[in-house]
């Protein structure tokens, strides 16, 4: 029982990331009809926003310490962060420590801007082209973004830890009456799960309870009629692209302490997120979220030692197996609209 609860918990944070990326993907498909293979790159760019701000906050000047030497035997040049000079050591350290949550403020406008530029500069020229063209150009864009990031940040992962207040893990086992260490769960993963719920809730509330959201939903249902009513739906869809980019980016920012980011992390999530979208139903927002969590939990169960030893390789294929079953039995996905992917 404890293992069961443990794997559900494990699936939740992975599912949170899948759900957030898939939400943006399906939002773009639902509004603009574009299959955006560069969406994983947006997740990765969000992560590197956190890395960048963290590096920026840690910018230092050198102070020579004559009592120590560096690896060449010269007097050691100690890095002293500028924030120490400006705010004092304690406050400066606290600012550096909270770099990842602070990055949310930095990443939001940056990611919306990147989304705008991507949509206006490239993707809008492919609206009327076949999906294959859209996939090719966005996939190419993803590779370009990846290589640019690798050029500036290198190929190795860059550790960017969570604030020290969130280090360690919570023993759910003791809470539920199990032995100590039976169900442990890192604090930051809990934060990530609740953060994703807030973002998902905010996107749904935005679409449901604002006039802007109502127009967008109307546009998703019948773009032509909304256009005939004199509403500039293209402009609103561009804004939605920016929001989808921001959602992916913020998911990336908060993911950084879970796994140190590298230039390739977007690709690792991209394919799985597409499967999530297909399973949930292309264009269906609740479908993307439900399928994200469902597949995250399934993957977690398939990765247990018991599953791997009894069904070798099941952890690698479980998500694709589910996708095949769904596509065979219900091509529109779990919550997809009738007709989508069924022609």
């Amino acid at each position: 029982m404890d293992q069961f609860i443990l794997q559900i918990l494990n699936g939740l944070d992975k599912g949170s990331a899948y759900a957030l990326i898939a939400l943006g993907l399906t939002l773009i498909f639902g509004t603009l009809g574009v299959v955006n293979f560069a969406h994983g790159a947006l997740f990765m760019l969000g992560s590197f926003c956190a890395v960048t701000l963290s590096k920026f906050l840690s910018l230092s000047h050198k102070v020579v310490d004559e009592t120590r030497t560096d690896f060449l035997g010269n007097p050691l040049q100690v890095d002293v962060p500028y924030v120490h000079d400006w705010f004092g050591v304690a406050t400066g350290d606290a600012i550096i420590d909270w770099a990842v949550p602070l990055s949310l403020l930095f990443a939001t406008p940056v990611m919306i801007g990147i989304g705008f530029i991507m949509e206006r500069g490239l993707i809008k020229h492919f609206y009327k082209r076949p999906h294959a063209d859209q996939i090719l150009v966005t996939f190419g864009l993803a590779i370009v973004i990846q290589e640019v990031v690798k050029y500036y940040y290198g190929a190795n992962p860059i550790p960017t830890p969570a604030p020290s207040a969130f280090k360690g893990s919570y023993d759910f086992g003791l809470l539920l009456g199990f032995d100590a260490n039976a169900i442990i769960y890192p604090y930051w993963r809990l934060v990530y799960f609740f953060f994703s719920l807030v973002i998902i809730g905010a996107v749904f509330a935005f679409l449901r309870f604002t006039t802007f959201g109502m127009v967008v939903r109307a546009g998703m249902a019948d773009r032509e009629t909304v256009g005939l009513l004199g509403i500039d739906i293209d402009k609103r869809f561009t804004i939605m692209f920016g929001i989808a980019a921001a959602v992916a980016g913020l998911a990336g920012v908060m993911y950084v302490p879970i796994n140190p980011p590298n230039y390739h992390m977007g690709m690792d999530f991209l394919v799985l997120s597409f499967v999530v979208v297909v399973v949930g139903g292309m264009g269906s927002l609740p479908g993307a979220v439900a399928a994200g969590f469902l597949l995250g939990i399934l993957e977690s169960f398939a990765s247990t030692a018991w599953a791997v030893s009894n069904l070798p390789g099941i952890n690698q294929v479980i998500i694709y197996l589910v996708a095949i079953i769904i596509l065979l039995t219900r091509p529109r996905g779990l919550m997809g609209r009738k007709g989508v992917m069924e022609e």
């Binding site: 690896f71 060449l72 050691l76 830890p161 879970i258 993957e299 977690s300 990765s303 791997v308």
Partner: protein, 448 residues
């Protein structure tokens, strides 16, 4: 109606001219006389540096390339000479190799066997490289080593730690300076016993590929020999990025040690996840829970950040070593590039020098003469103490470093501290050891 313009005489003439034209370059090439592939001319010799310039190990590849450029500079008489003055063999005098200026070409392995073979083949066939060296993966090393054997050139392996490179996949034209999984196990086990005791239960997470298997086998065998019990060993996909599903059940498995047979990005992520799940602070079986990372790399340790603190592992070489060879290399590399070299840089630099030295001692670039000069060759002054290039399997035997993640690093490079230098005889094994069986060196192939 059609009329042919071909005449018997015309065809013969054209055929003869074309044949002579095609044969001429081959005739003029020295190797047709010298009897081996890519024999150099009198003025220069070309070496092929095959390193990952793209892909997940691109940073290690970049460091290897820096070391190669430094080695070429030193061989050609430039810079401060690096390890040339400390090398026990004093035949290299800064005039290139056998009086030829050293030139080099580079290839990108992409850490993919097929891409690595293609780039090595291109350097041999198009650029005339007489020796191929480099790489940051055992899969690539084994693949390129086999190619060099077929092509008749020497392969001086870069960073490759699997037993198989000089075990079941060894080749007569291939040589490895880097240590291997067996040596890691043999060096690490006594240190683990001294620090964690003999009554331990280990849980292995192992990367699901060749290097992972040989490392798990080596660590299991050496830790079980000191009384540890292996409670479980789980294979993890190479593409895995989040290891939480694998790590979460560890604490409740009865184990009190987690061995991460992971390298590169796998190691960074699995160690980060293990620390997140509180394994460092946990207690199991009445003892502190411990984590072991058999193969450390400073570049990777940097990726894992503070998570490496206090964790034992092994490494081929470390820049903080205080022997004359290491100090000379760190000084030379650090002055040129502004940071200390990695173990990948060290092994590739040393391999280049060893190749040049062997050619000089043999007095020939013929791969078979070079192989003979390297076999059972003993040397010193290159950073690992007295070293033997064993003739039986073309593996170097030297001291192995057991290291620990440093608790209070003084700078960004100061991540690992050496806790023990395990003497070479403690990590030496019989060429027919079970972990190395199944292959044969074969005979040297000079090509051409």
């Amino acid at each position: 109606m059609s009329k042919s313009n071909f005449s018997r005489r015309g065809v013969l003439k054209t055929g003869a001219i074309a044949g002579a034209g095609l044969a001429l370059p081959t005739y003029l090439r020295a190797d047709s006389h010298a009897g081996f592939t890519n024999a150099p001319g009198d003025s220069e010799v070309v070496l092929g540096f095959n390193v990952p310039q793209t892909g997940p190990y691109a940073d290690e590849g970049a460091d290897e390339l820096r070391a190669y450029e430094l080695a070429v500079e030193h061989l050609n008489g430039g810079g401060d000479g690096g390890m040339l003055p400390t090398f026990s063999s004093q035949v290299l005098d800064g005039t290139g190799i056998l009086g030829r200026e050293v030139k080099y070409v580079t290839g990108d392995t992409q850490t993919k066997s097929d891409a690595a073979r293609a780039s090595a083949r291109s350097m041999i066939e198009k650029d005339g490289a007489i020796m191929i060296t480099g790489g940051s993966s055992s899969g690539v090393a084994v693949a390129v080593q086999a190619l060099c054997q077929e092509a008749g050139v020497i392969f001086m392996a870069g960073l490759t730690h699997s037993n198989d490179t000089t075990g079941k996949d060894k080749r007569a034209n291939g040589f490895r300076h880097f240590f291997n999984s067996y040596m890691t196990g043999a060096a690490l086990a006594p240190v683990l016993a001294a620090n964690y005791g003999n009554d331990r239960k280990a849980y292995h997470l192992t990367a699901d590929y060749n290097w992972g298997y040989t490392t798990e086998e080596a660590i299991r065998s050496s830790t079980e020999a000191i009384g540890w019990e292996t409670v479980n060993a789980v294979k993890t996909p190479l593409t895995q990025t989040d290891f939480s599903s694998y790590i979460a059940p560890v604490l409740n498995s009865g184990a009190d040690v987690l061995v991460l047979n992971h390298y590169g990005g796998n190691m960074v992520n699995s160690l980060t996840n293990a620390v997140q799940f509180g394994l460092r602070e946990a207690q199991a079986n009445g003892q502190n829970f411990e984590i072991v990372v058999p193969l450390y790399s400073r570049l990777m340790a940097r990726g894992a950040g503070a998570n490496v603190k206090g964790i034992f592992g092994s490494t081929n070489w470390h820049w903080s070593l205080q022997d004359e060879g290491s100090k000379a290399f760190v000084q030379s590399f650090g002055t040129k590039y502004g940071f200390p070299p990695s173990q990948a840089a060290h092994t590739t630099y040393v391999q280049t020098l060893l190749y040049a030295d062997a050619v000089t001692r043999a007095g020939s670039f013929n791969p078979c003469a070079v192989a003979e000069a390297l076999e059972d060759y003993e040397f010193d002054g290159l950073g690992n103490g007295k070293t033997l290039y064993r003739g039986d399997d073309h593996q170097c035997f030297k001291d192995v470093l057991v290291v620990k993640g440093k608790e209070n690093p003084e700078n960004e490079f100061d991540l690992l501290e050496i806790v023990e230098v395990t003497p070479a005889d403690q990590v030496t094994y019989d060429p027919n050891h079970p972990q190395f069986q199944g292959g044969a060196l074969g005979t040297c192939n000079p090509g051409a």
